[in-house]
Amino acid sequence: MSTLTQVDPYKPLALRTRVKLSTDAPFTPTYIQASLTQSGDPQGIYTSRVKNRHIVLENPARASNVQKEHDAKKGRRKSEKKKRKIVALGRRPTDAKGLWKLENGAQKFDLFLPLHQLWMGYMSELLGLPPPSSVPVAEAMPSASSMHPKLVKADFHGSLLTVRQSKNPCLVGLSGIVIHETENAFKVITRTDQLKLIPKQNSIFTLAVPLYSTLLQTQFEPVEAVSSALSGQYSGTVLDAPHIAFDLYGNQFCFRSADRAGRKFKAKETIEL
């Protein structure tokens, strides 16, 4: 700062001059350059030391640590809330909305037989089962190693499960069509029209898969054959036809069916209950 004559910016302007404000010739740079009477290069000084510089006029209020933490927490909560929106509905809202409740007259085993037929068709397609009566029963068995990885990722809604072995003796022998699979349990409807919830833990289930494909083989079947096939289909389950029985270890299966599709199952040392 020069100790010689200082320019007083608050000095009123001489009355004679009229300030004309325009964007082509802004006032501030012109005024400052005009005031720098002592230096030899007022424009250079303006450009290098004045233009686009900020001068702190007084102490601004600094944000305290508490305030900073509060802001950070708020920011985290907001991001978490955003993430949470993508997750599925919890137990309470599901129950409140009655999403998985069957209506009064809907608890009938026969009503779920068409679902079971659909599942058999899905299995036939998934496992590539041979058409019926093309190969005798003894030779029709496909290789187990190719079926296991597909079955592990398959959907079991509509399948017929039977409890073969369980730590709880009351569950042994329960059998029914799976109408809902959750992370820890199967909800099945038994042949006696009872809705049962079977926990997956501590149980070994038997899963029956048809040996032959249940899908209609050609699109051009005559109408009578189709209608008779359809009416015959809906009365039977997978156990009424030649089928393959698999053992399903419930302890290793406690995942939601959607999660299971992408999961890699590792071999475990022991499968004791």
């Binding site: 072995q165 369980s166 003796p169 009351c170 569950l171 042994v172 022998g173 209950l273």
Partner: protein, 375 residues
């Protein structure tokens, strides 16, 4: 010699005794009976005239269960003759089929049972099914039959059908295609010139408990050695002291000893008959029970020999899930104490009976570690 963890209980008293009377009913499964006594022709004749009979059948458990439920006699005692103790069963005279199964089989059968509370043994469960049809509902019955059928199917590949030994009170049937009748023959071993102790079966007033225990222990030791025909009891035995040191309890005399052994599946009625022959007066008890045995009086009641005594040792079937049924009122609501069926288990009872109508007796019972009979 007692195994580690085995427990022995000793009682003494005078005849007649409820313990003796109920002895055969409390222990339904007996696999061996040894009777040792100073030689007496009439007792030997009386005992060998008893003919214990049992039946043998090879069938599945479901078939035998059907047979037992439909049989007119209410009193079938059955046990499979198997050395495998992991999954076994028995039917006791109360009419209850008791299964003792391992964990994996229990989880497959689907019947509710009780876990054996013993530590150190493999995990096993006990399931009880009443044999009579009327006691259970139709659905429960169907479930029980399905479970038995499943067990038979699981056995098909491995051990196959059961070899069942059974006895039933009532009419004796002859051999047929379905079963085989077996009459257990006694093994009679006379031994001459044996040192026989004169037992004093009541405690002497000044005697301390330890002395009493030691004296009676020596007596039971003699009985055990007589049961196996040990050479140490011979009067002329001069064994090298480095091999064995044994002295017969004093006072003793030299005489002949007879041992009669039945080793078979023995029904409780036979055990009762043997005890009766030794202790009670059969004529007085039952009037005209045995016309041809008019000369056969109770041995001990009528003997004039003050040194006479009889030692009866009973070995139970250790592979049966049911050991003793203490409550002999045949109340099936109260379950008998639990135990682990094991080949090397202990279940022995020994009576030493003294002479006279109201003679003294001592009774020692020994059970193994995994038996809840005494808690």
């Amino acid at each position: 010699m007692a195994r580690a963890h085995s427990r022995v209980m000793l009682t003494n008293g005078t005849l007649p005794s409820t313990q003796l009377n109920q002895f055969s009913a409390v222990h339904p499964f007996t696999q061996q009976l040894d009777i040792v006594f100073p030689a007496s022709d009439e007792l030997e004749k009386a005992l060998t005239s008893l003919k214990p009979t049992y039946y043998k059948k090879r069938c599945t458990l479901s078939d035998f269960f059907e047979f037992a439920s439909n049989s007119p006699s209410r009193n079938i005692t059955a046990l499979p003759s198997t050395s495998e103790c992991a999954d076994t069963w028995c039917i006791d005279p109360r009419g209850v089929l008791t299964l003792c199964v391992s964990k994996s089989l229990y989880e497959q059968l689907g019947l509710i049972g009780k876990k054996l509370p013993f530590k150190g043994c493999p995990e096993q469960y006990v399931i009880r099914i009443p044999v009579r049809q009327e006691t259970e509902s139709v659905a429960v019955r169907a479930k029980q039959k399905a479970a038995l059928k499943l067990w038979d199917e699981l056995r098909e590949d491995g051990l196959g059908k059961w070899n069942v030994l059974y006895c039933q009170s009532g009419a004796c049937l002859g051999t047929s295609d379905s079963h085989e009748v077996v009459i257990a023959q006694p093994q009679i071993c006379p031994s001459a010139d044996i040192l026989i102790p004169i037992p004093a079966l009541a405690p002497i007033p000044e005697e301390s408990t330890e002395d009493w225990d030691e004296r009676i222990g020596d007596l039971f030791e003699w009985v055990g050695m007589a049961c196996i025909g040990a050479q140490r009891l011979k009067a002329n035995d001069r064994v090298n002291p480095y091999v064995a040191v044994y002295e017969v309890p004093t006072p003793s005399y030299i005489g002949d000893v007879t041992r009669i052994t039945w080793a078979a599946f023995l029904h409780q009625s036979f055990v009762k008959d043997a005890l009766d022959t030794v202790t009670l007066d059969i004529l007085r008890l039952n009037g005209v029970k045995r016309i041809d045995d008019l000369l056969c009086r109770s041995y001990l009641a009528s003997t004039t020999d003050n040194h006479a005594f009889v030692a009866i040792t009973r070995q139970g079937c250790c592979t049966s899930p049911v050991g003793a049924i203490p409550d002999t009122s045949f109340d099936t609501a109260r379950d008998p104490p639990l135990r682990v069926p094991e080949n090397n288990a202990e279940d022995t009872g020994c009576f030493i009976l003294g002479p006279g109508q109201n003679g003294n007796f001592v009774f020692a019972e020994s059970i193994g570690q995994w038996d809840a009979r005494w808690g």
